[in-house]
């Protein structure tokens, strides 16, 4: 054997794969980069000869914060996101647990029906939801009605229940049933078993459901554009749309600036829940 044989062989195809992956990464990051650059550019044009502007300015951010109801829209979006996240997590946690652990009449059909519901695009139910909120508005003093943030939150909660219940059910299915049996023998009631043994182990799946629910009102345009009428009730997506559909001008820089600022809460939520998303809390529960 020669000494050259002893050198660790470098797989050249690895370099090629790395190059491909770096290209993919650039493709994913490019839109974010372009948006940030657009937000720092002077003038409202989207198209420019230079990708990186020669003079960068924070004027767009200043204008956004001082001359538009950006804070209002942001607050509205956060309100809708928070309400829908809290209620959806509470409701679907219990539903998913019940579907996983209890045997009752209609369980199997209920699960199938939820998959069926999930197959239809939410927009198909638009007319029904509009009519429903229109009818509920006068009955609830406008709390659950058209042009109501709470009404919009309920729409997101309802739309997310099938999918969220399924992922929570799947997670609970994988938790060892012996933990609950052990708790019963220790003297726990079903509620104590759920709240003190199962719920603390559900961190990863609750974080996932929470992130999904929190993001939904940010990324959705269709529902708020139909259900919200007045500017002071707008969510960020609707408000931002006004920057580029103005009668006389389309201010893309302002749009980009609001996109950059608007993404900050999502980043905060994601990074604060990241620990749970990657953590396997059940480690050590059973053999191994």
């Amino acid at each position: 054997m020669t000494t050259s044989d002893n050198k660790p062989k470098v797989d050249r195809s690895l370099y090629a794969w790395h190059a491909v992956l770096i290209c993919c990464l650039c493709l994913f990051l490019l839109p974010a980069f372009l948006v940030v650059m657009a937000a720092l550019r002077e003038g409202g044009s989207l198209v420019s000869a230079e990708i990186i502007p020669s003079t960068m300015t924070l004027k767009n951010f200043s204008r956004l914060l001082n001359e538009t109801p950006f804070w209002r829209w942001m607050l509205n979006t956060l309100v809708v996101s928070t309400i829908s996240t809290v209620i959806a997590v509470a409701v679907t946690t219990l539903a998913g647990y019940a579907f996983s652990r209890f045997r009752f009449r209609g369980r199997k059909n209920g699960l199938l029906f939820m998959i069926l519901l999930q197959m239809f695009p939410a927009a198909m139910s638009m007319v029904a939801i509009f009519r429903l909120l229109q009818s509920l508005g006068p009955m609830t003093g406008g709390l659950i009605g058209l042009n109501s943030l709470f009404g919009l939150s309920l729409v997101y909660i309802g739309a997310g229940i099938p999918f969220n219940s399924w992922i929570i059910k799947g997670y609970v299915d994988a938790l060892p049933i012996e933990l609950e049996e052990s708790a019963y023998l220790d003297g726990a009631t079903p509620w104590q078993t759920f709240s003190q043994v199962v719920f603390p182990l559900m961190g990863p799946v609750l974080a996932t459901v929470a992130v999904f629910n929190f993001i939904a009102p940010y990324s959705d345009f269709v529902f708020p554009s139909v259900l919200l009428f007045s500017e002071d009730q707008y969510t960020l997506a609707i408000g931002m749309q006004g920057f580029i559909t103005g009668d006389f001008s389309a201010n893309w820089s302002l749009f980009a600036a609001s996109a950059v600022l608007g993404s900050l809460p999502i980043l905060v939520v994601f990074f604060s829940l990241q620990r749970f998303l990657v953590q396997g809390l059940t480690a050590g529960a059973v053999k191994g």
């Binding site: 012996e178 049996e181 019963y184 023998l185 003297g187 603390p200 480690a283 050590g284």
Partner: protein, 384 residues
């Protein structure tokens, strides 16, 4: 502490048997109701302070029986008593029992101390009492230094001890253990087996222990219950099970390597095997038709034939040297089956060697055509 009595206990699971249908025939039912009879009339009396082992192959109903005693499965028919009380409709938490699971089932988000005190806190014991009990159990199991750790920071053996500790702190009337040593490696299992014996002698709590490992059963149990296909085959002391198995299943299950079985025809007080004819003992003289002769591996002898013995010519196929002894796996001549022979370590033979085995008639267990024992080997019997 209390005894446990099972009277005619049955467990039937309701299931669905799939019916054949084409994929488009969705209007037709996909299945019909069916029943699986898992435990078929179990009658047992477990005395106060006794260590009873339920043993049998997978699916024999031993774990289901234990879970019915725990209250984790409903009893379809029959009655379970713990102490004086019928507990069929009593919830698990009110049965005053503690269970150790195969997977330990430690709460992963709690420390060892929290795991052990969880049941006591739920029952609203005073804090000082809880602390004292946890410390006492931890000292007994030598896990005092682990109390602030979480289960994922413990080794398999330590987790097993914590699971035991969680059961002990409750000071229950009955301990239920569902294959608690199965997840440990062989060395640790032997160590924990001794530990369990020590604990049982110290605490003296009635224990029902489920295992599929006959060595565990033989070494731990005051009495062993052997189950097969939902039926209790025999309930006796370890030695009696070995020496006087009630039927072919028990005879084959207890003992390692298992008992050798040779099929023969009984006629006129003689057993006719293709390789030999043997006189049947008095108790089996009136048997006719197919019978089975059972011989333990250590009773298949080698060397020169002595008076009254029958010979069994065979060819050596596999040798398993274990250091202290050898196992010879032999093929009988004329395709009359296979047998396992246990010899001392000094007996050397090569694979392919012709071997003349010999059997003493009083070393033979005899089973009738239904597999029920008719008479046992005198060499082993202690109470004929």
């Amino acid at each position: 502490m209390a005894g446990v009595i099972l009277s005619g206990v049955h467990k039937i699971y309701q299931g669905t048997e799939p019916l054949p249908r084409k994929w488009w025939e969705f209007w037709k039912p996909s299945g019909k109701p069916s029943e699986v009879h898992v435990v078929k009339g179990a009658d047992l009396e477990i005395k106060d302070g006794e260590f009873l082992v339920l043993v049998g192959p997978s699916g024999c109903g031993k774990s289901t029986t234990l879970r019915m005693v725990a209250g984790l499965e409903e009893v379809t028919d029959g009655e379970i008593r713990i102490g004086e009380k019928v507990v069929n409709d009593v919830s698990p938490k009110d049965r005053d029992i503690a269970m150790v699971f195969q997977s330990y089932a430690l709460y992963p988000h709690m420390t060892v101390a929290e795991n052990m005190s969880f049941g006591l806190k739920l029952r609203k014991y005073p804090v000082e009492d809880i602390e004292a009990r946890v410390k006492e159990a931890a000292a007994l199991l030598d896990i005092g230094h682990l109390l602030e750790r979480r289960p994922k920071e413990l080794s398999g053996g330590q987790r097993q001890r914590v699971a035991m500790g969680r059961a002990i702190v409750r000071r229950p009337q009955v301990f239920l253990m569902d294959e608690p040593l199965s997840n440990l490696d062989a060395k640790l299992r032997v160590q924990m087996r001794a530990e369990l014996q020590r604990l049982h002698h110290k605490l003296g709590v009635t224990t029902i222990y489920v295992t599929h490992d006959q060595t565990e059963a033989m070494t731990l149990g005051d009495r062993i219950v052997i189950m097969h296909q939902g039926h209790i085959q025999q309930c006796d002391s370890p030695l009696m099970l070995y020496e006087q198995p009630a039927n072919l299943f028990v005879a084959g299950f207890i003992g390692s390597p298992g008992m050798n079985f040779l099929e023969a025809d009984a006629k006129d007080g003689l057993a006719h095997h293709p390789l030999f004819t043997m006189e049947l003992p008095v108790k089996a003289r009136n048997l006719t038709g197919k019978i089975t002769l059972g011989i333990r591996p250590q009773h298949l002898l080698m060397g020169s034939l002595e008076e009254g013995e029958v010979k069994l010519p065979a060819t050596l196929e596999v040798v398993e040297p274990l250091g202290s002894e050898n196992f010879f796996f032999c093929k009988l001549d004329e395709g009359a089956g296979q047998v396992t022979v246990r010899t001392d370590a000094a007996t050397k033979r090569k694979v392919g060697d012709a071997i003349l085995l010999r059997i003493r008639p009083d070393h033979v267990h005899i089973f009738d055509s239904n597999g029920e024992a008719v008479c046992h080997a005198k060499g082993e019997a202690t109470a004929e």
